[in-house]
């Protein structure tokens, strides 16, 4: 066990750094994914890797983890050069990675997954206990477990491999706040043991809180290596974005919804098994209504019901005052209620072109034999222009970056027309620049008279975009706040079910 004394991570001159990567580069054909990146991680350090989408973070991590082979550059662990050709090589060199998509096999149970990778099950069990999952059933099929649990299970497995360096790619992206805290605690403990963590995230607040060093990438190269401190968050943002004006710091404005605006979507005592227990809400035209909740409080089921993907067991949904009897999303869409789901690939036709994706909802209205009519083509083009979708990789939607994919999903409804937009965590894993564009778009749409229902797992963004916030707990609305009152603290308190219920729901 090479446990060093829990040093403060000071740059020592004698021993080599834990990880040193120099001039790592990767290109795909003519596309340069990583120009030349350097990264040095000292023992006992929590190191952030930052950058906008497309900056090359994921490519660098994949090269370090042995998923893809770099074209150039040198990687050394404790001074010894390594060249991982497969994830198992990287693991043998002491680098364990938790990828954005959990590397767990959906059709095997948890125990089988662990046996597959030759990991100490007792150690995994112990780590699970520390991150609040001590009662996880090892006989459960991975397919049946929710995403946050899979992320944490993947983390526990990586920890059980006892790596020198733990690489976490966007691990907090889908985690509710309480579970994210468990992850931070584990990261600090890892640091206290003299091991290191490489932390990739879009959330600067997290970087400020727990990271000792930060390496910022832009356009496939290094732009800064700094020790984050409370003051220089704006500097980091500037480094990540380059010359782009910082749009993320949007004003916390209270957009007054015009009084007497029609209620376009209303639910009365909506119920579905034990997930949704009597939700009543009213959404007016021109309003962005936020939903705040920890993971698993019924928000996903609520959106399914509203989108017509599932029929409620009780209560009713009214669209423009008329009861909605949706047998499928088709019925809801015809009433102007459309969904932007969390998983972008679920909504997209990944193999098809951007234009076809945008035009997909129009196919139902096409009355001609050959393709789309000209005005429909124009609607598609307008959507592309308005969203400034980067259409360079337009032949297949799956080749777009995550942010551009999300724009296509939103753009599809722009082309088709809608009155109520249901957005379920639309900015998950998206860089702050695209995020700001998406939020601006939602505001524009609302100003034009659309109604928006927005669930986001990033609580601090709620006051920036929403006109009103409902807090969901245990499948019921437990609190309602104005955006100014909806600080992260207040939301968290309510989301844990601690605040006084306002008498809505069961």
């Amino acid at each position: 066990m090479p446990d060093a004394a829990p040093g403060p991570g000071n740059p020592v001159t004698g021993p080599p750094p834990l990880l040193s990567a120099r001039g790592v580069a990767k290109r795909y054909g003519s596309v340069v994914a990583l120009r030349s990146a350097d990264l040095v991680v000292q023992p006992g350090e929590i190191h952030a890797l930052l950058g906008a989408n497309g900056a090359g973070k994921s490519t660098l991590v994949k090269i370090l983890a042995g998923v893809i082979a770099g074209d150039a550059g040198e990687i050394a662990v404790n001074g010894a050069p390594v060249r991982p050709r497969a994830p198992s090589d990287a693991m043998a060199a002491g680098l364990a990675t938790v990828f954005q998509d959990p590397a767990l096999i959906p059709d095997l149970d948890v125990g089988q997954n662990l046996r597959l990778t030759r990991v100490d099950e007792a150690a995994v069990r112990e780590w699970l206990g520390r991150i609040g999952l001590g009662d996880l059933d090892f006989d459960a099929k991975v397919r049946e477990l929710p995403l946050p649990v899979l992320r944490l299970l993947d983390l526990a497995r990586a920890l059980a491999h006892d790596p020198q360096l733990l690489m976490l790619d966007e691990i907090t992206a889908a985690l509710p706040a309480d579970q994210a805290e468990h992850v931070f605690a584990v990261m600090r403990e890892w640091k206290a043991r003299g091991r290191s963590v490489l932390f990739i995230t879009h959330r600067l607040a997290e970087v400020m809180r727990i990271c000792d060093m930060a390496t910022v990438l832009r356009d496939g190269g290094n732009v800064a290596t700094v020790a984050p401190s409370a003051g220089d968050q704006q500097d980091l943002v500037a480094a990540m974005l380059g010359d782009v004006v910082d749009e993320a710091a949007a004003e916390t404005a209270t957009h007054a919804v015009p009084p007497g605006a029609p209620v376009v979507l209303e639910t009365r005592d909506l119920r579905s098994t034990d997930r949704v227990n009597g939700v009543s809400l009213r959404l007016q035209a021109g309003e962005i209504l936020g939903i705040a909740a920890l993971e698993g409080q019924g928000q996903d089921r609520l959106f399914d019901l509203l989108a017509g993907d599932r029929r409620p067991d009780g209560g009713e949904i009214l669209v423009n005052g008329q009861t909605l009897h949706a047998r499928s999303p088709y019925d809801a869409i015809r009433q102007g209620v459309v969904l932007v789901p969390a998983d972008r690939l679920m909504a997209l036709l990944p193999q098809r072109s951007v234009r076809e994706n945008l035009a997909a909802p129009l196919y139902n209205t096409v009355g001609r034999w050959f393709g789309l009519a000209r005005d429909e083509k124009e609607r598609v083009q307008r959507a592309i222009d308005r969203l400034s979708i980067d259409t360079r990789a337009q032949r297949q939607a799956r080749r777009l970056s995550g942010g551009n994919q999300q724009k296509v999903v939103v753009g599809r409804w722009l082309a088709a027309g809608f009155r109520t937009l249901l957005c379920f965590d639309p900015t998950r894993g998206i860089d702050i620049q695209t995020k700001a564009q998406i939020y601006d778009l939602l505001r524009e749409l609302a100003d034009e008279g659309a109604a928006v229902l927005l669930y986001t797992s990033e609580l601090q963004e709620i006051p920036l975009v929403c006109d009103r916030v409902l807090v969901l707990y245990g499948g019921a609305v437990v609190d309602e706040m104005a955006p100014l009152a909806a600080t992260e603290e207040a939301l968290l308190t309510a989301a844990h079910g601690l605040a006084r219920p306002v008498g809505r729901g069961g």
Binding site: S88, P106, D107
Partner: protein
């Protein structure tokens, strides 16, 4: 570990319900068959067990390949090729030599089909295309080895699969053991060993498997090698059953389609990673047993194919409805 005491039984049913259901269907069919004919005894049991052997072995092999995320359309060609080769080589030899030939044939085919898996991995050509081609190649080899039906094998070898030196008799034990032993071994191998689990993992989610350090390349090669060996075993069983070799293309093509039907009916997802060999074996025996049943109730043999197809569609529809109901309830 479970939340409620009722959970284990429900969980078991959800995990293994399909396999149990297929076996139940087999038992019902055999029981029905017993009432249809004047006398049901060890002769009939032997007949069903031994005559199912080729399709059972073929289905086990196909199951392993499909669970690993592939599909092998070459198993039919492999069956007639090994049938022809074995009948040609074994004719007039002593039992010892015959067994040596059998082992040699199994090893060679495992190697050959492992190479097919390797080619699929390296070339990235879809499994269905490569194995369609190998199926033609194997069938061609069969005709080159044995241009017309003929050849033979040792009586002891026939006993091994059929329970008698002449291939006709009432001793059902060898055939029953030949069905159950390989089934149990392969099923345990798949869910207990790391190699077996890596085949499930590769078929379930190749990318996640690779990221978690599973050697997906090797898993696929092993799956194809095992698949090839079982197709060869089906060919050897055919040699023992008929006491000769028959290189006709239609026999192989028919057997291949039956193996795919058996694994689908047996609850194995064509997308990989889901299902069990045990279910596929029951389904394979069902597909064989339908023939004598339909004959017994007086159906024209020509309509039996229609009944088979109808049964597959009906079972899959019931499964789909059950799944839909389960999702609704959740």
């Amino acid at each position: 570990m479970f939340a409620t005491p009722a959970a284990p039984a429900r969980l078991w049913l959800r995990r293994h319900g399909w396999t149990a259901g297929v076996w139940l269907l087999l038992v019902v069919l055999v029981a029905w068959y017993a009432t249809l004919i004047p006398k049901f005894g060890s002769f009939q049991v032997t007949s069903i067990a031994k005559n199912s052997l080729p399709i059972v072995f073929l289905s086990i092999g196909q199951a392993v390949v499909v669970i690993g995320g592939g599909i092998d359309l070459g198993v039919g060609g492999m069956l007639i090729m090994t049938n022809a080769a074995a009948a040609q080589l074994m004719d007039g030899q002593s039992l010892g030599v015959v067994l040596l030939i059998a082992v040699g044939v199994l090893a060679a085919t495992a190697l050959l089909n492992g190479l097919v898996g390797w080619i699929i991995n390296v070339s990235k050509v879809p499994d269905i295309v490569v194995t369609l081609a190998t199926g033609f190649i194997y069938s061609g080899f069969a005709l080159m080895i044995l241009p017309s039906p003929g050849g033979g094998t040792a009586g002891g070898f026939r006993y091994l699969f059929t329970g008698s030196d002449s291939g006709i008799g009432t001793n059902f034990w060898p055939a029953v053991v030949m069905v159950t032993l390989p089934t149990a071994l392969v099923a345990q191998w798949l869910i207990r060993t790391r190699t077996g689990l890596s085949i499930y993992a590769t078929g379930s989610d190749r990318n996640a498997s690779f990221l978690s350090g599973v050697r997906t390349f090797r898993a696929k090669v092993v799956a194809y090698a095992v698949g090839g060996a079982f197709a060869a075993l089906a060919g050897l069983a055919t040699t023992a059953l008929t006491g000769s070799g028959d290189p006709r293309f239609s026999i192989g093509a028919n057997a291949m389609l039956n193996s795919v039907a058996a694994i689908v009916l047996g609850g194995i997802a064509l997308t990989g990673g889901i299902g069990s060999v045990v279910g596929a074996v029951a389904a394979a025996i069902i597909l064989f047993t339908l023939n004598p049943i339909l004959t017994a109730i007086g159906f024209d043999p020509n309509t039996s194919q229609v009944i088979k197809g109808g049964l597959i569609v009906a079972v899959m529809m019931v499964a789909g409805l059950l799944e839909l109901r389960r999702r609704r309830r959740e």
